[in-house]
Symmetry: C2
C-alpha cells in the first residue's frame, strides 16, 4: 500500500522528534518561556500588587497584544503551572490571573531581562544604526567598484 509508506514515514519522523525531545527536553521549555508574550505577561503580573490582574487589565497594560494571543499565552502558562486562573461568575464575568509561586520565581528573571532591554535600548539602537550604515557604505563601495569596472 502507498499509505503504508506514508505511515512509516510519519512513524519515523515522530520517533526522531521524540528522540530529540528526550535528548534535550529543556530546550522545549526554554522555547516556551522565551516567547515574546510570555515575557511581557509574566513581567506585568510580577509588577502588579498581589501578582494578580484581570484579563482586560493585561490587555490594556500590554500594548499591541491581541485577545487571541493573550488567551493562548495565559492558557499555556496555566497549563505549565505558572499562573492560576480564577473565574468569578458574576455579571459581568470576572477572570483573574495570578502568578503562582513558581511563576513568581520566573517573573523576577524575566523582569530583569525586560529591564535590561529598556536600559540598553539606546545602546543597541546605536550599534544597529552604525552597523547598517557601514553595510550601506560597503554596498555603495562595491557598487561603485562595479561601475568603475564596467
Amino acid at each position: 500500500m502507498a499509505t503504508r509508506t506514508a505511515e512509516a514515514h510519519r512513524e519515523e519522523a515522530r520517533a526522531a522528534y521524540d528522540a530529540f525531545l528526550k535528548e534535550c527536553p529543556t530546550a522545549q521549555l526554554l522555547a516556551r518561556i522565551s516567547d515574546k508574550w510570555v515575557g511581557l505577561i509574566v513581567s506585568a503580573l510580577g509588577q502588579a500588587e498581589d501578582r494578580t490582574m484581570r484579563y482586560s487589565e493585561l490587555g490594556r497594560k500590554i500594548p499591541g497584544v491581541s485577545q487571541k494571543m493573550l488567551t493562548q499565552t495565559l492558557r499555556s502558562l496555566e497549563r505549565d503551572g505558572l499562573v492560576a486562573r480564577t473565574v468569578t461568575p458574576t455579571v459581568p464575568l470576572r477572570v483573574d490571573y495570578r502568578l503562582t509561586e513558581l511563576g513568581s520565581n520566573l517573573g523576577c528573571l524575566l523582569s530583569s531581562v525586560k529591564q535590561w532591554a529598556e536600559n540598553h535600548f539606546d545602546e543597541v539602537s546605536a550599534h544597529r544604526e552604525r552597523h547598517d550604515a557601514e553595510a550601506a557604505g560597503a554596498d555603495a563601495g562595491a557598487a561603485a567598484g562595479a561601475d568603475a569596472a564596467a
Copy 2:
C-alpha cells in the same frame, strides 16, 4: 481593482505597525532577545572560555539548530552589537564569534533563565500532566453527562 484594496490594507497595516513600534520600541528589542535561538546561542557563548566560539562549535553545541537559523541569529546579534564576528582568512576559513561587553552582560541574565528552565523542568512537567489529566477527566465527565442527558 481588488488589489488596490489589498494594497490599501497593507499600507494601513504598516502604518499601524510603525506607530506601534514608535509607541513601544522596547517591545521590539525584548522580542528579539526573547528568541529561542538567541537564548541558546548567547548562553552557549557565555559559558565558553573567553566567551568565544567557532561557527561549527556553536552548531554542535546547540542541538537541533539549522545553519540558516544559526547564521541568521548570529547576524542579528552582530547587528545589535551583542556579538563580534572575527574572520581569519586562512585555509580552511576560520570564523570566531565572541560576546561583546554588552552581550556578556545579557548573557548572564539569559543563562539564569536557561538555568531556571533546567531546574524547574520536572516541576513544570508535573503541572502539565496534572492539568492535562484534569482536562481529560472534565471532558469525560461532560461526555458522560451528555450521555446521561440523552
